[in-house]
Subunit: 452 residues, 2 copies
């Protein structure tokens, strides 16, 4: 499956003090880092020093988990990305935003604005936002069904795409002498009238440096994969085993091809939570230190919520109950549910062991070892049809990202697997993807635009 | 009416190449400045050098006017403000956002995030967004009525206020040893259930440096003034004469008092479009240069739209028709409509003359003269119960803002009317306003918070 000269894409998934739920309790961690813009500016600078393709923020319009137990405040990601754009030059900036709890006009405009301000570095991780608590912040008693959310998401992306294309790339003439600012025929209403949205347009932002933000998707249910196959240019996914990752990779590339797309135009990045030490025992020590800081009763309550069972049914030193719901009864985070149950069953984990595994990556693959071992783990999947790159999720921040950049990236470079320097300026250029043509421009205009 | 030691507040209202509609056609102007973040970063830096209280951006989720005739693209203001926060240290940052076309959870969160990222410098100009074109970008065939928009705005502000107060200032304990991050009793759902909104809360951003953004209002209709009297801490207004400005000032301060507020807690800033020259004739020359660049047929079409008449009914060299609609038939921008009609009638202006006056400030007061004369015009209104400060709207940017900062500000300082240095760090401190208490905190907690 490996292509000569093919190189990895690396995204840094940033989250307050790190992806391990207990990371904030380490002596080195700032427990209010989650709302400290300088913390994130520092992280983005470290990732850019490592020549990562991008940094990324998850998001939901609701408090995650129990504020009594772990850091809960977070800044709105498009605001945070703009603050990162100011202190970086090349690295891509990917924000999560919900199609269920936004309007397409406002959100299309905000991403176009971030793309302009960052000089073409914006990306949008498109999510449909599971869970009733988010719904209740928007006047809805319970979340819309999984299918309804994905149907709305597809129409949302159609509308956003039309808005982003509502200005031709060369619409602005700015002829001072004649007093003509733009060619009115090259700035068009979109007149979208659909099931979920009616939007007149045009957008009030000219077409942005990338045309529109890089579109990212992270849902792994059938609906999620179908949406990704149609629209996504990069996909973040949680995969625990090489076999599962290979199956996901070929399934999604196949779906993209079936949707009439070049499978190379969709980059697949499984998550990995690396816990890095200069020796194996040092790495394991850090792992143990984090595990010892987990509050089992809190983690059990979170797991019970995910599994839709009573916490009392989860005995810490026994395996999961046999009679768990089927995935199709789950209305949100379907694929994550299945992954967790399969992980526990496959490895015969007790609830306590499962909690330790999930504490590190909420279902993403954790890997503890030396820089060489981490590089081996990455290379194995990359060379065997499981990944185009990785979503790097340091257990502890900033130290875990620094360790990756300073110790794993050089190994990947020595193996010819990762760039030494940026070769482009935009996020899409980092991922090796072409700037999208404007759907409304004539062939001549489109050819001009793609060369811009 | 003047108070000893009372000093002016100055806000810089920023808009692409300036407030004059033809400013983009000047040789010095960059016609695509409206989407150039470096242009606005430069302007904010100039305003901060002048120790202005704040910079401000108007906004609407729609294209204003005719893209064929004047610059139309604009960046989303909360994104733009964040980019300005990165290159400034003290100056306040005020963005306009619509209560009609946003959800309170998302918008409250975004402003809280800007307040955090800027270290307490965020302000929100609350608008209800007139016009059917904006409505049609959000699935609504025609705009909601003026009254319905203001009713929604009031509830929106109630919900936003509850969300901003949903975390106590001291909610985060961050006790690593015990593993307690926040006190769950100090992060509360708001459980708002009203006519327009049902919002569970809490917000997912801790209480921000200012508690919440400075609340600004700019509607001058009765509904607008009532909303301002209840919520606004600063008010932008278009007033053409000292008498009108005095009447507005005392009316609004009276309404604030009637609403149980300290009238000093609401700062009133009329707009002024200064055209500055080192001599009167130099100033008039710049004025004439701008007037000569106006396209009368375009300006007439815009005026006809504002007045709800056929452009053919507006002969350029005649006065306005006698039979114009009454203000109460107007569903948006009511007070601006009345102001324009009164201006034309009071000064017996022809359509051509009215267009020239409106070209400079869209209904705001224009003033052409030397720095001393501009300072006189400002001082007169300030000392005579018409203003707590001014909304400075340079006809041309950046040169008009530079002229004001370099030549008018020193005159105001020499007269003891304006600060030499910032004395506070937050936007509310610049305006001399107290940090708001948290409505949910106990008396003890509130006293602690107000001293924070």
């Amino acid at each position: 499956m490996s292509t000569p000269g093919r190189t990895l894409h690396l995204n840094a998934f940033l989250m307050s003090t790190g992806h391990h739920e207990a990371s904030w309790r380490l002596p080195e961690s700032d427990p209010v880092a989650g709302t400290d813009v300088r913390h994130f500016q520092n992280l983005a600078t470290i990732a850019e020093r490592g020549r990562f393709d991008s940094v990324f923020f998850a998001d939901s319009p609701v408090i995650f988990g129990d504020v009594g137990r772990r850091p809960a405040g977070r800044l709105e990601p498009t605001v945070l990305l703009t603050a990162l754009a100011a202190v970086t030059e090349k690295i891509g900036l990917i924000a999560t935003a919900s199609t269920t709890y936004n309007d397409p006009y406002n959100l299309a405009r905000r991403f176009a604005s971030v793309d302009v301000v960052s000089g073409g570095r914006a990306g949008w991780n498109v999510v449909t936002t599971a869970g009733p608590d988010a719904a209740r912040n928007f006047g809805i008693d319970d979340q819309p069904s999984h299918a309804a959310r994905y149907e709305r998401a597809a129409e949302f992306l159609d509308v956003a795409g039309k808005l982003w294309d509502s200005w031709d790339d060369d619409a602005v003439i700015a002829d001072k002498e004649s007093g003509v600012w733009a060619d009115p025929h090259r700035v068009r209403p979109i007149n979208h009238a659909g099931k979920h949205f009616s939007v007149q347009g045009p957008l009030n932002v000219p077409r942005s440096p990338q045309g529109y933000p890089l579109l990212v998707q992270a849902g792994s249910s059938d609906d999620g994969k179908d949406l990704a196959a149609r629209y996504a240019e990069a996909v973040f996914t949680a995969q625990q085993t090489l076999g599962d990752a290979q199956a996901f990779y070929s399934d999604l590339k196949g779906r993209a091809a079936a949707a009439g797309r070049d499978p190379e135009g969709i980059k697949i990045l499984p998550g990995i939570v690396p816990v890095i030490g200069s020796t194996e025992s040092e790495a394991r020590k850090l792992d143990q230190q984090l595990e010892d800081l987990i509050k089992p009763e809190y983690a059990r309550a979170q797991l019970a919520k995910t599994l839709r069972v009573d916490p009392a049914d989860l005995a810490l030193d026994r395996q999961l109950p046999a009679d768990l719901p089927n995935e199709d009864e789950i209305e949100g985070a379907k694929s994550r549910y299945t992954l967790i149950v399969q992980l526990a069953r496959r490895e015969n984990l007790t609830v306590r062991q499962l909690i330790a595994r999930l504490g590190g990556g909420r279902g993403h693959r954790t890997f503890t070892g030396t820089p060489e071992q981490v590089a081996d783990a990455i290379e194995l999947w990359f060379r065997n049809g499981a990944a185009d790159g990785f979503n790097i999720m340091p257990a502890v921040l900033p130290s875990g990202l620094e360790a990756f950049v300073d110790h794993v990236v050089p190994v990947l470079r020595a193996r010819g697997l990762f760039r030494n320097e940026y070769t482009g300026n935009t996020l899409r250029e980092h991922y090796g993807l072409a700037r999208p043509l404007n759907r409304y421009s004539g062939a001549l205009a489109a050819a001009g635009a793609s060369g811009a």
